[in-house]
Symmetry: C2
Subunit: 214 residues, 2 copies
Protein backbone atom coordinates (compact mmCIF):
# COMPACT_ATOMS: atom_id res chain seq x y z
CA UNK A 1 0.00 0.00 0.00
CA UNK A 2 1.18 3.47 -0.78
CA UNK A 3 -0.12 6.78 0.58
CA UNK A 4 0.64 9.91 -1.43
CA UNK A 5 0.42 13.28 0.24
CA UNK A 6 1.90 15.87 2.59
CA UNK A 7 1.71 14.75 6.21
CA UNK A 8 0.56 18.20 7.34
CA UNK A 9 -2.68 17.90 5.34
CA UNK A 10 -5.67 17.24 7.65
CA UNK A 11 -6.87 14.60 5.16
CA UNK A 12 -3.53 12.84 4.84
CA UNK A 13 -3.26 12.85 8.65
CA UNK A 14 -6.72 11.27 8.96
CA UNK A 15 -5.84 8.53 6.49
CA UNK A 16 -2.43 7.84 8.08
CA UNK A 17 -4.06 7.60 11.52
CA UNK A 18 -6.59 5.05 10.22
CA UNK A 19 -3.73 3.00 8.74
CA UNK A 20 -1.90 3.26 12.09
CA UNK A 21 -4.96 2.21 14.12
CA UNK A 22 -5.38 -0.83 11.90
CA UNK A 23 -1.67 -1.64 12.25
CA UNK A 24 -1.20 -1.69 8.47
CA UNK A 25 2.22 -1.02 7.02
CA UNK A 26 2.41 1.24 4.00
CA UNK A 27 4.84 3.37 2.05
CA UNK A 28 4.49 7.13 2.24
CA UNK A 29 5.29 9.19 -0.84
CA UNK A 30 5.49 12.92 0.00
CA UNK A 31 3.33 14.74 -2.58
CA UNK A 32 1.79 18.18 -2.79
CA UNK A 33 -1.66 19.10 -4.11
CA UNK A 34 -1.51 19.45 -7.88
CA UNK A 35 1.66 17.36 -8.21
CA UNK A 36 0.07 13.95 -8.76
CA UNK A 37 -0.78 12.53 -12.19
CA UNK A 38 -4.47 12.27 -13.07
CA UNK A 39 -4.28 8.46 -12.92
CA UNK A 40 -3.46 8.69 -9.19
CA UNK A 41 -5.63 11.68 -8.33
CA UNK A 42 -8.09 12.90 -10.98
CA UNK A 43 -8.52 16.26 -9.23
CA UNK A 44 -4.87 16.60 -8.16
CA UNK A 45 -5.89 16.46 -4.51
CA UNK A 46 -4.14 14.66 -1.67
CA UNK A 47 -4.16 12.04 -0.34
CA UNK A 48 -4.04 9.51 -3.15
CA UNK A 49 -3.66 5.85 -2.37
CA UNK A 50 -2.81 2.60 -4.09
CA UNK A 51 -3.30 -0.99 -2.92
CA UNK A 52 -2.15 -3.42 -5.61
CA UNK A 53 -4.14 -2.61 -8.75
CA UNK A 54 -6.53 -0.23 -6.99
CA UNK A 55 -5.82 3.48 -7.21
CA UNK A 56 -8.16 5.89 -5.40
CA UNK A 57 -8.15 9.36 -3.95
CA UNK A 58 -10.24 11.26 -1.38
CA UNK A 59 -9.54 10.49 2.28
CA UNK A 60 -13.12 9.40 3.09
CA UNK A 61 -13.19 7.00 0.15
CA UNK A 62 -9.80 5.59 1.18
CA UNK A 63 -10.84 5.17 4.83
CA UNK A 64 -14.08 3.39 3.85
CA UNK A 65 -12.04 1.07 1.63
CA UNK A 66 -9.56 0.34 4.45
CA UNK A 67 -12.45 -0.45 6.79
CA UNK A 68 -14.00 -2.90 4.30
CA UNK A 69 -10.72 -4.53 3.20
CA UNK A 70 -9.05 -4.69 6.63
CA UNK A 71 -11.89 -4.98 9.17
CA UNK A 72 -9.89 -6.74 11.95
CA UNK A 73 -9.47 -3.50 13.90
CA UNK A 74 -12.61 -1.51 13.06
CA UNK A 75 -12.62 2.28 12.76
CA UNK A 76 -16.38 2.57 12.21
CA UNK A 77 -19.13 1.88 14.76
CA UNK A 78 -21.37 -1.18 14.26
CA UNK A 79 -24.86 0.30 14.82
CA UNK A 80 -26.39 1.75 11.65
CA UNK A 81 -27.46 5.05 13.23
CA UNK A 82 -23.97 5.51 14.72
CA UNK A 83 -22.39 4.76 11.34
CA UNK A 84 -24.56 7.44 9.75
CA UNK A 85 -23.63 9.93 12.50
CA UNK A 86 -19.93 9.03 12.18
CA UNK A 87 -20.01 9.64 8.42
CA UNK A 88 -21.84 12.93 8.94
CA UNK A 89 -19.32 14.20 11.51
CA UNK A 90 -16.48 13.25 9.18
CA UNK A 91 -18.15 15.14 6.31
CA UNK A 92 -18.81 18.16 8.54
CA UNK A 93 -15.17 18.27 9.62
CA UNK A 94 -13.78 17.63 6.13
CA UNK A 95 -15.75 20.55 4.72
CA UNK A 96 -16.61 23.23 7.28
CA UNK A 97 -13.86 22.72 9.85
CA UNK A 98 -11.18 22.37 7.19
CA UNK A 99 -12.44 25.61 5.62
CA UNK A 100 -12.26 27.43 8.98
CA UNK A 101 -9.50 25.86 11.09
CA UNK A 102 -7.59 24.82 7.97
CA UNK A 103 -8.05 28.38 6.69
CA UNK A 104 -6.14 29.80 9.66
CA UNK A 105 -3.24 27.45 8.86
CA UNK A 106 -3.37 28.47 5.20
CA UNK A 107 -3.29 32.19 5.97
CA UNK A 108 -0.64 32.15 8.68
CA UNK A 109 1.64 29.28 7.64
CA UNK A 110 1.17 28.15 4.04
CA UNK A 111 0.78 31.57 2.39
CA UNK A 112 4.06 33.02 3.70
CA UNK A 113 5.88 29.70 3.26
CA UNK A 114 4.75 29.24 -0.35
CA UNK A 115 5.17 32.96 -1.18
CA UNK A 116 1.46 33.29 -1.94
CA UNK A 117 1.24 36.72 -0.35
CA UNK A 118 0.94 38.17 3.13
CA UNK A 119 -1.30 36.71 5.82
CA UNK A 120 -4.74 38.35 5.83
CA UNK A 121 -5.07 38.83 9.60
CA UNK A 122 -8.47 40.52 9.21
CA UNK A 123 -9.73 37.33 7.58
CA UNK A 124 -8.18 35.18 10.30
CA UNK A 125 -9.80 37.36 12.96
CA UNK A 126 -13.18 37.08 11.26
CA UNK A 127 -12.84 33.30 11.26
CA UNK A 128 -11.82 33.17 14.94
CA UNK A 129 -14.29 35.78 16.19
CA UNK A 130 -17.36 35.25 14.02
CA UNK A 131 -17.33 32.15 11.85
CA UNK A 132 -15.79 29.57 14.17
CA UNK A 133 -17.77 29.97 17.45
CA UNK A 134 -21.15 28.65 16.16
CA UNK A 135 -19.36 25.56 14.80
CA UNK A 136 -17.47 25.08 18.07
CA UNK A 137 -20.80 25.32 19.92
CA UNK A 138 -22.11 22.56 17.67
CA UNK A 139 -19.04 20.36 18.20
CA UNK A 140 -19.18 20.96 21.97
CA UNK A 141 -22.58 19.23 21.85
CA UNK A 142 -21.24 16.29 19.83
CA UNK A 143 -18.04 15.21 21.59
CA UNK A 144 -18.08 12.94 24.64
CA UNK A 145 -16.86 13.93 28.12
CA UNK A 146 -14.63 10.86 28.21
CA UNK A 147 -13.33 8.43 25.63
CA UNK A 148 -14.30 8.46 21.97
CA UNK A 149 -17.33 9.35 19.89
CA UNK A 150 -18.57 5.80 19.32
CA UNK A 151 -16.96 3.41 21.79
CA UNK A 152 -13.57 2.53 20.33
CA UNK A 153 -11.34 5.04 18.57
CA UNK A 154 -12.22 5.52 14.92
CA UNK A 155 -12.19 7.59 11.75
CA UNK A 156 -14.72 10.10 13.08
CA UNK A 157 -12.55 10.91 16.12
CA UNK A 158 -9.49 11.89 14.12
CA UNK A 159 -11.52 13.45 11.29
CA UNK A 160 -13.43 15.71 13.65
CA UNK A 161 -10.34 17.39 15.08
CA UNK A 162 -7.67 16.90 12.41
CA UNK A 163 -7.76 20.48 11.12
CA UNK A 164 -7.49 21.84 14.69
CA UNK A 165 -3.90 20.58 14.78
CA UNK A 166 -3.22 22.67 11.70
CA UNK A 167 -4.83 25.68 13.36
CA UNK A 168 -2.67 24.91 16.41
CA UNK A 169 0.49 25.25 14.31
CA UNK A 170 -0.83 28.68 13.39
CA UNK A 171 -1.30 29.76 17.01
CA UNK A 172 -5.03 29.00 17.38
CA UNK A 173 -6.28 27.13 20.43
CA UNK A 174 -9.90 26.26 21.28
CA UNK A 175 -10.81 28.25 24.41
CA UNK A 176 -11.14 25.59 27.12
CA UNK A 177 -13.19 27.94 29.33
CA UNK A 178 -15.86 28.33 26.64
CA UNK A 179 -15.69 24.86 24.99
CA UNK A 180 -14.27 22.57 27.70
CA UNK A 181 -15.41 19.22 26.26
CA UNK A 182 -14.08 20.01 22.80
CA UNK A 183 -10.74 21.36 24.05
CA UNK A 184 -10.27 18.23 26.18
CA UNK A 185 -11.29 15.97 23.28
CA UNK A 186 -8.72 17.58 20.94
CA UNK A 187 -6.03 16.90 23.56
CA UNK A 188 -7.25 13.34 24.14
CA UNK A 189 -7.18 12.50 20.42
CA UNK A 190 -3.65 14.00 20.15
CA UNK A 191 -2.46 11.61 22.86
CA UNK A 192 -3.82 8.47 21.14
CA UNK A 193 -0.76 6.46 19.98
CA UNK A 194 -1.96 6.29 16.35
CA UNK A 195 -2.27 10.09 16.31
CA UNK A 196 0.82 10.86 18.40
CA UNK A 197 2.95 8.96 15.89
CA UNK A 198 1.77 11.36 13.16
CA UNK A 199 2.00 14.52 15.25
CA UNK A 200 5.57 13.63 16.26
CA UNK A 201 6.55 13.23 12.60
CA UNK A 202 4.84 16.54 11.84
CA UNK A 203 6.68 18.32 14.67
CA UNK A 204 9.98 17.15 13.22
CA UNK A 205 8.94 18.44 9.79
CA UNK A 206 7.74 21.80 11.15
CA UNK A 207 11.12 22.20 12.87
CA UNK A 208 12.98 21.47 9.61
CA UNK A 209 10.80 23.93 7.70
CA UNK A 210 11.29 26.63 10.32
CA UNK A 211 15.06 26.32 10.18
CA UNK A 212 15.02 26.19 6.35
CA UNK A 213 13.03 29.45 6.34
CA UNK A 214 15.52 31.28 8.55
CA UNK B 1 -38.90 8.61 6.36
CA UNK B 2 -38.79 12.23 5.36
CA UNK B 3 -36.59 13.92 2.76
CA UNK B 4 -36.10 17.68 3.07
CA UNK B 5 -34.92 19.65 0.08
CA UNK B 6 -35.65 21.20 -3.31
CA UNK B 7 -36.14 18.55 -5.99
CA UNK B 8 -34.02 20.53 -8.48
CA UNK B 9 -30.91 20.11 -6.30
CA UNK B 10 -28.50 17.53 -7.81
CA UNK B 11 -28.04 16.09 -4.30
CA UNK B 12 -31.74 15.87 -3.49
CA UNK B 13 -32.30 14.24 -6.90
CA UNK B 14 -29.60 11.65 -6.17
CA UNK B 15 -31.13 10.79 -2.79
CA UNK B 16 -34.68 10.63 -4.17
CA UNK B 17 -33.53 8.33 -6.98
CA UNK B 18 -31.88 5.97 -4.47
CA UNK B 19 -35.13 5.91 -2.46
CA UNK B 20 -37.04 5.19 -5.70
CA UNK B 21 -34.68 2.38 -6.76
CA UNK B 22 -35.11 0.75 -3.38
CA UNK B 23 -38.88 1.15 -3.63
CA UNK B 24 -39.02 2.97 -0.28
CA UNK B 25 -41.90 5.30 0.43
CA UNK B 26 -41.09 8.64 2.05
CA UNK B 27 -42.51 12.06 2.61
CA UNK B 28 -40.96 14.97 0.75
CA UNK B 29 -40.76 18.35 2.48
CA UNK B 30 -39.78 21.11 0.03
CA UNK B 31 -36.94 23.08 1.66
CA UNK B 32 -34.33 25.52 0.43
CA UNK B 33 -30.67 25.74 1.45
CA UNK B 34 -30.39 27.79 4.62
CA UNK B 35 -34.03 27.27 5.61
CA UNK B 36 -33.63 24.16 7.76
CA UNK B 37 -33.02 24.27 11.53
CA UNK B 38 -29.55 23.24 12.73
CA UNK B 39 -31.01 20.08 14.29
CA UNK B 40 -32.02 18.86 10.82
CA UNK B 41 -29.06 20.21 8.88
CA UNK B 42 -26.12 21.59 10.88
CA UNK B 43 -24.74 23.45 7.85
CA UNK B 44 -28.13 24.45 6.45
CA UNK B 45 -27.55 22.34 3.35
CA UNK B 46 -30.01 20.12 1.50
CA UNK B 47 -30.98 17.35 1.52
CA UNK B 48 -31.68 16.59 5.15
CA UNK B 49 -33.34 13.32 6.08
CA UNK B 50 -35.06 11.68 9.03
CA UNK B 51 -35.89 8.04 9.66
CA UNK B 52 -37.53 7.64 13.04
CA UNK B 53 -35.13 9.09 15.63
CA UNK B 54 -32.26 9.44 13.17
CA UNK B 55 -31.68 12.85 11.63
CA UNK B 56 -28.84 13.25 9.13
CA UNK B 57 -27.81 15.47 6.27
CA UNK B 58 -25.44 15.19 3.30
CA UNK B 59 -26.65 13.12 0.34
CA UNK B 60 -23.71 10.67 0.41
CA UNK B 61 -24.21 9.99 4.11
CA UNK B 62 -27.95 9.47 3.56
CA UNK B 63 -27.40 7.12 0.60
CA UNK B 64 -24.86 5.01 2.55
CA UNK B 65 -27.37 4.79 5.40
CA UNK B 66 -30.16 3.73 3.03
CA UNK B 67 -27.91 1.05 1.55
CA UNK B 68 -27.06 -0.36 4.99
CA UNK B 69 -30.58 -0.13 6.44
CA UNK B 70 -32.51 -1.25 3.35
CA UNK B 71 -30.12 -3.59 1.46
CA UNK B 72 -32.81 -5.64 -0.36
CA UNK B 73 -32.31 -3.71 -3.60
CA UNK B 74 -28.62 -2.73 -3.50
CA UNK B 75 -27.34 0.53 -4.96
CA UNK B 76 -23.65 -0.22 -4.30
CA UNK B 77 -21.52 -2.85 -6.02
CA UNK B 78 -20.38 -5.89 -4.00
CA UNK B 79 -16.66 -6.09 -4.89
CA UNK B 80 -14.47 -3.95 -2.62
CA UNK B 81 -12.51 -2.32 -5.43
CA UNK B 82 -15.75 -1.45 -7.25
CA UNK B 83 -17.21 0.01 -4.03
CA UNK B 84 -14.15 2.23 -3.67
CA UNK B 85 -14.42 3.34 -7.30
CA UNK B 86 -18.18 3.97 -6.92
CA UNK B 87 -17.59 6.16 -3.85
CA UNK B 88 -14.83 8.03 -5.67
CA UNK B 89 -16.99 8.75 -8.73
CA UNK B 90 -19.80 9.95 -6.45
CA UNK B 91 -17.36 12.26 -4.63
CA UNK B 92 -15.93 13.53 -7.93
CA UNK B 93 -19.40 14.35 -9.24
CA UNK B 94 -20.62 15.86 -5.96
CA UNK B 95 -17.69 18.28 -5.89
CA UNK B 96 -16.20 19.05 -9.31
CA UNK B 97 -19.19 18.34 -11.57
CA UNK B 98 -21.59 20.16 -9.26
CA UNK B 99 -19.21 23.12 -9.26
CA UNK B 100 -19.05 23.18 -13.08
CA UNK B 101 -22.34 21.80 -14.48
CA UNK B 102 -24.23 23.02 -11.37
CA UNK B 103 -22.51 26.38 -11.81
CA UNK B 104 -24.08 26.84 -15.25
CA UNK B 105 -27.52 26.21 -13.72
CA UNK B 106 -26.75 28.68 -10.93
CA UNK B 107 -25.66 31.44 -13.30
CA UNK B 108 -28.39 31.05 -15.90
CA UNK B 109 -31.41 29.90 -13.86
CA UNK B 110 -31.02 30.43 -10.11
CA UNK B 111 -29.39 33.87 -10.17
CA UNK B 112 -32.12 35.57 -12.25
CA UNK B 113 -34.88 33.61 -10.49
CA UNK B 114 -33.68 34.50 -7.00
CA UNK B 115 -32.77 38.08 -7.98
CA UNK B 116 -29.11 37.48 -7.16
CA UNK B 117 -27.89 39.51 -10.09
CA UNK B 118 -27.42 39.06 -13.83
CA UNK B 119 -26.02 35.89 -15.38
CA UNK B 120 -22.25 36.11 -15.85
CA UNK B 121 -22.10 34.70 -19.38
CA UNK B 122 -18.29 35.15 -19.52
CA UNK B 123 -18.03 32.83 -16.54
CA UNK B 124 -20.43 30.32 -18.10
CA UNK B 125 -18.41 30.38 -21.32
CA UNK B 126 -15.18 29.81 -19.41
CA UNK B 127 -16.76 26.79 -17.72
CA UNK B 128 -18.05 25.35 -20.99
CA UNK B 129 -14.98 26.13 -23.10
CA UNK B 130 -12.07 25.66 -20.68
CA UNK B 131 -12.97 24.08 -17.36
CA UNK B 132 -15.46 21.42 -18.35
CA UNK B 133 -13.74 19.60 -21.29
CA UNK B 134 -10.88 17.97 -19.28
CA UNK B 135 -13.47 16.64 -16.81
CA UNK B 136 -15.69 15.39 -19.64
CA UNK B 137 -12.63 13.63 -21.13
CA UNK B 138 -12.12 11.94 -17.76
CA UNK B 139 -15.78 10.89 -17.50
CA UNK B 140 -15.76 9.61 -21.09
CA UNK B 141 -13.13 7.12 -19.92
CA UNK B 142 -15.20 6.06 -16.90
CA UNK B 143 -18.71 5.42 -18.22
CA UNK B 144 -19.66 2.15 -19.90
CA UNK B 145 -20.76 1.78 -23.53
CA UNK B 146 -23.89 -0.06 -22.39
CA UNK B 147 -25.72 -0.46 -19.11
CA UNK B 148 -24.47 0.90 -15.80
CA UNK B 149 -21.16 1.59 -14.11
CA UNK B 150 -21.14 -1.50 -11.90
CA UNK B 151 -23.63 -4.09 -13.14
CA UNK B 152 -26.98 -3.01 -11.71
CA UNK B 153 -28.10 0.62 -11.48
CA UNK B 154 -26.82 2.36 -8.36
CA UNK B 155 -25.90 5.54 -6.52
CA UNK B 156 -22.79 6.16 -8.65
CA UNK B 157 -24.82 6.16 -11.87
CA UNK B 158 -27.22 8.90 -10.80
CA UNK B 159 -24.56 10.81 -8.82
CA UNK B 160 -22.21 10.96 -11.78
CA UNK B 161 -24.67 12.73 -14.08
CA UNK B 162 -27.13 14.42 -11.69
CA UNK B 163 -25.76 17.93 -12.19
CA UNK B 164 -25.85 17.52 -15.98
CA UNK B 165 -29.66 17.61 -15.79
CA UNK B 166 -29.34 20.98 -14.07
CA UNK B 167 -26.96 22.18 -16.78
CA UNK B 168 -29.51 20.87 -19.29
CA UNK B 169 -32.21 23.16 -17.85
CA UNK B 170 -29.75 25.97 -18.49
CA UNK B 171 -29.25 25.05 -22.15
CA UNK B 172 -26.04 23.03 -21.83
CA UNK B 173 -25.70 19.68 -23.59
CA UNK B 174 -22.68 17.38 -23.67
CA UNK B 175 -21.41 17.31 -27.27
CA UNK B 176 -22.21 13.77 -28.45
CA UNK B 177 -19.70 14.02 -31.28
CA UNK B 178 -16.82 14.69 -28.85
CA UNK B 179 -17.98 12.63 -25.83
CA UNK B 180 -20.32 9.96 -27.31
CA UNK B 181 -20.23 7.48 -24.40
CA UNK B 182 -20.93 10.16 -21.80
CA UNK B 183 -23.72 11.79 -23.81
CA UNK B 184 -25.39 8.39 -24.30
CA UNK B 185 -24.93 7.52 -20.61
CA UNK B 186 -26.62 10.76 -19.49
CA UNK B 187 -29.59 9.89 -21.71
CA UNK B 188 -29.67 6.29 -20.51
CA UNK B 189 -29.71 7.31 -16.84
CA UNK B 190 -32.50 9.83 -17.57
CA UNK B 191 -34.64 7.02 -18.97
CA UNK B 192 -34.25 4.75 -15.91
CA UNK B 193 -37.70 4.62 -14.23
CA UNK B 194 -36.32 5.75 -10.84
CA UNK B 195 -34.77 8.80 -12.51
CA UNK B 196 -37.60 9.50 -14.95
CA UNK B 197 -40.02 9.78 -12.03
CA UNK B 198 -37.89 12.61 -10.61
CA UNK B 199 -37.23 14.35 -13.92
CA UNK B 200 -40.98 14.33 -14.70
CA UNK B 201 -41.73 16.00 -11.35
CA UNK B 202 -38.96 18.51 -12.05
CA UNK B 203 -40.32 19.30 -15.50
CA UNK B 204 -43.70 20.08 -13.96
CA UNK B 205 -42.01 22.36 -11.40
CA UNK B 206 -39.89 24.13 -14.05
CA UNK B 207 -43.08 24.79 -16.02
CA UNK B 208 -44.79 26.26 -12.94
CA UNK B 209 -41.77 28.46 -12.19
CA UNK B 210 -41.57 29.68 -15.78
CA UNK B 211 -45.22 30.72 -15.80
CA UNK B 212 -44.89 32.32 -12.34
CA UNK B 213 -41.94 34.37 -13.64
CA UNK B 214 -43.89 35.71 -16.62
Amino acid sequence: MKLYGAILSPFVRKTAVVLNVKGLSYEHEPSFPGSLPRTLSPLGKIPAFTDGDLSISDSSVICEYLEEKYPQVPVMPKALNDRARARWLEEFADTKMTELAGGIFFERILKPMMKLGATDEAKVNDVITNLMPPQLDYLEGQVPTDGWLFGSFGTADIALVSSFYNAGYAGFKVDAARWPKLAAFIGRVAAHPAVKKQLDAEAALMKQMASANK
